[in-house]
């Protein structure tokens, strides 16, 4: 069992740092290169959501990121304290976006679901959103 957590400013440019940190921490479970890319993508999507949607570009707000490793399983939690999601089911539909004018693809949650074994989204309007993702790495 191992744990890691960090607090990161919701600043454009921090997506890369976040996904690198989380995937580096998961190296302990001996993931394949493909699994590392899965983690990187899911974290990048969730963190981008915090920056673009939850805080709408206000870059003095924080994102909490934590990872728990237990054997071959990783649980990654990415939480913001921003605007929240009114309809989570709708937000998870492929190609749904609230910002089509900004060339948003609406594929963020779809990719998270594709790459992770389990995803839970807990959101409250004006309180924030918590994305809980599980990944099980294949044994050698």
């Amino acid at each position: 069992m191992n744990k890691f957590s960090m607090k990161l400013l919701a600043k454009t440019g921090n997506e890369s740092f976040a996904r690198s940190c989380v995937s580096a921490f998961c190296l302990e479970a001996n993931p394949t290169l493909e699994e590392i890319n899965d983690i990187k993508t899911a974290v990048s999507e969730a963190v981008t959501n915090c920056i673009v949607h939850a805080y709408s570009g206000k870059d003095d707000k924080f994102i909490d990121i934590s990872v728990s490793l237990e054997g071959q399983k990783a649980e990654i939690i990415i939480e913001d304290y921003g605007c929240g999601i009114e309809d989570v089911d709708k937000a998870m539909q492929p190609f749904f976006t609230t910002k089509p004018d900004q060339e948003r693809s609406g594929m963020g949650f779809t990719l998270i679901q594709t790459f992770m074994n389990d995803v839970k989204i807990i959101s409250q309007k004006d309180k924030g959103t918590k994305v809980v993702m599980q990944k099980e790495f294949k044994k050698d």
Binding site: S44, Q102, S105, L111
Partner: protein, 102 residues
Amino acid sequence: MRLELTNRSGCAVARLDGELDEGCVKEVREKIDAFIRGGNIGQFVFDFSKLSFMDSTGIGMLLGRYKKLKQLDVPIYISNASGHVDFILSTAGIYTIMKKIS
């Protein structure tokens, strides 16, 4: 992210080197759009051989360029996407509007 734009006799190539995400997409978009405005483009190729990472922000960028180039009747091709990038492009259905070439 490094972006190299070339145009040889109407064959425009955008070569992306690095990781395409929210942190750099604005700059990439602006540079490509200025390049498109330069005109004389018969076909447009995204060369992804050096692109090591992309998330849905990249998909949004591609869809935006597709809309622009479609108005000009310019076909778009994608070449040499790595395993991970290729999978994301397939999942998002990009290959139904941009042909894969090697």
